[in-house]
């Protein structure tokens, strides 16, 4: 399987990374170089093997339903590029 220019444009859009048109073709080559190399995974017989999700073998930790956090809006917005009245600001969204 290899990617073409349209695929690269589509995944760049999905990943929200601007990709100038002149970078599309080189990116196609770079990605295909990598995908060609990972193709060797197709040699492996994975029949009946469950995909691994975590190496950790224990029960999921759980918290009690207690409020222990929040009340710190100042710190939450401290690193934001643009705020007003402790709201984050983004260019207007049209729904």
């Amino acid at each position: 399987m290899s990617v073409d220019k349209d695929t690269v444009r589509r995944i760049a859009k999905l990943a929200r990374i601007a990709l100038p048109e002149e970078r599309v073709e080189p990116m196609v080559r770079e990605l295909n170089g990598i995908f060609d190399w990972v193709q060797q995974l197709n040699e492996v017989d994975v029949a009946g093997v469950a995909p691994m999700t975590s190496v950790v073998e224990q029960r999921l930790k759980m918290r009690d339903d207690v409020v222990t956090d929040g009340g710190n809006a100042e710190a939450v917005v401290a690193n934001a590029p643009l705020t007003e009245d402790r709201f984050f600001l983004v260019p207007k969204v049209v729904e």
């Binding site: 999905l14 999700t53 999921l60 918290r63 222990t68 984050f88 983004v90 969204v93």
Partner: protein, 497 residues
């Protein structure tokens, strides 16, 4: 799905187009906010209406290096809801990341459950006004995080983002496409709301957004395969659900009948315009790239824990209704009483205090609920306690006061409060059963109205006038049966009384 509708009942749900009848097929995706103090994966508060970004942990803000740890109580609430929906509880479920970009989605992904939800198939029965019961299948229930809130009307150029809701636990409850009319959809939502409120897993408050519905609507010719559906978002009241379904079904029928085809899309319900419209922001084809969240492990529940939760489940509306009917209530009365847990509890408190079940139900449905409605109150906020209403029903049943006086008594308790029994005594509301006193009143009225006596003798049905006069004279306190018996005797009426 079901075959072509044949019964008149089913036929009545069809909507008519120029090319004949169409069937509406409806499925719902309901987001119900889990009643919990803290969020699903952080220790920030879930309380409604706080200052912007004040109930946000660094986890909820998607800060670098922050990690989720699940709230046990939220899991318990989801299990409890699943049990209330008579659903399969999956002892192993998985949290996935649903990846998309949106300003109120801080991490760029929502933690949700995709392939392996915590709750599987279940069912809900809804009662329609005509007495029909419809089964609506539940497809699944899963836990997920809520997003933050974007405010678009604060500034001409900017949207304002508040993350207080970000990370609040939601249960997404998905139905099978089993509903066939806007009434059924609304009835389902009402029933679901009642169930989660009985369970205490969601407050069902649609105004504050703690229960929201996305409605999937398609239309088809009766008996035809399912049509292409549109998902209508932002439907935030029972009334809007009905309106949105009606509008959307009509829109689709019009398109199909004019030779067009339905485009599968997400539409927004605009309650001011009463219409649905295509959502510009959702136009782009979605590719959510779900994968198991590597920050979490599979959620494995112990069977014993689930059984413990099952044991702690309260009696739910369907069981309660059956029990009320066994106690002699009509299906309608029972359904009204169980529609809200508070109402059922109120009714049961009246019965516990000594009122007869049927009489208590009649009293509530005929007298008290009407007054509450008019005043915009509920049983919890209304001024008359269950004990007081029970006392009123009991003094009527014991013939201490008449039904008419009971209404006056309710008025007094409503405005002034107090113990109904004491009021009956202190204000002399006891009905007069002293035959001598009633005979005297009857005789005086007969003596004063010879013309009326003549009329009644010719037309016995007019005896009611005399009853009214007696009541007037006795201040409504005369026992109506006694009055009737004496009148019959004095006026010589034989049978019609």
């Amino acid at each position: 799905m079901s075959a072509a509708p044949e019964s008149p009942k089913e036929r009545s749900k069809l909507i008519n187009g120029q090319t004949g009848p169409w069937e509406i097929v409806i499925g719902l995706e309901v987001h119900a906010q889990v009643l919990s103090k803290a969020k699903l994966f952080s220790g920030a508060s879930t309380a409604f209406g706080a200052e912007p970004n004040s109930q946000v942990s660094f986890v909820d803000a998607g800060m670098p290096g922050m990690l989720p740890v699940i709230n046990r109580y939220c899991v318990e609430q989801a299990v409890r809801t699943g049990l209330g929906l008579k659903a399969q509880i999956n002892l192993t479920s998985v949290f996935d990341r649903k990846n998309y970009f949106y300003p109120d989605l801080p991490s760029g992904y929502q933690i949700s459950q995709y392939k392996n939800p915590v709750v599987g198939e279940g069912e809900v029965f809804i009662d329609l006004p005509d007495g029909e019961t419809v089964r609506v299948g539940i497809e699944r229930l899963h836990l997920e995080q809520d997003a933050g809130k974007s405010l678009h009307d604060q500034h001409p150029d900017y949207s304002y983002v508040d993350l207080n809701r970000s990370g609040v636990a939601l249960m997404e409850i998905v139905t099978k496409p089993d509903m066939r009319s806007s009434e059924e959809a609304a009835a389902f939502l009402r029933k679901l709301r009642a169930i989660v409120r009985y369970l205490g897993t969601c407050d069902g408050n649609m105004d504050e957004g703690s229960m929201r519905a996305d409605v999937n609507v398609s239309v088809r010719k009766p008996g035809a395969p399912l049509g292409t559906r549109c998902e209508v978002k932002n439907v935030n009241s029972m009334r809007f659900v009905a309106q949105a379904v009606e509008f959307e079904a009509r829109r689709q029928v019009d398109i199909l009948e004019s030779g067009g085809s339905i485009k599968q899309e997400t539409r927004l319900y605009d309650n001011r315009a009463g219409e649905t419209r295509s959502m510009r922001s959702k136009e782009e084809a979605h590719d959510y790239r779900y994968f198991p969240d590597p920050d979490l492990l599979p959620l494995v529940l112990e069977d014993a824990w689930v059984k413990e939760i099952a044991k702690s489940l309260p009696e739910l509306p369907d069981e309660k209704k059956a029990r009320f009917m066994k106690a002699g209530l009509s299906a309608y009365d029972a359904a009204v009483l169980v529609s809200e847990r508070e109402t059922a509890d109120y009714f049961e408190a009246m019965v516990r205090d000594g009122a007869d079940a049927k009489q208590a139900a009649n009293w509530l449905n005929n007298e008290y609920f009407g007054r509450l409605n008019k005043a915009g109150l509920t049983v919890s906020t209304g001024p008359v306690s269950a004990t007081a209403n029970s006392a009123i029903v009991q003094v009527v049943a014991a013939n201490v006061i008449s039904g008419k006086i009971a209404k006056d008594l309710l008025d007094i308790v409503w405005t002034e409060g107090g113990d109904p029994r004491a009021i009956v005594e202190s204000r002399g509301l006891r009905q007069v059963t002293d035959t001598g006193a009633i005979e005297k009143a009857v005789d005086e009225i007969i003596a004063a109205n010879p013309d009326k006596v003549a009329e009644v003798k010719a037309k016995p049905k007019l005896a009611g006038w005399f009853v009214g006069q007696v009541m007037k004279v006795t201040g409504g306190k005369a026992n109506p049966q006694v009055v009737n018996a004496i009148l019959k005797e004095r006026l010589g009426i034989t049978e019609e009384g």
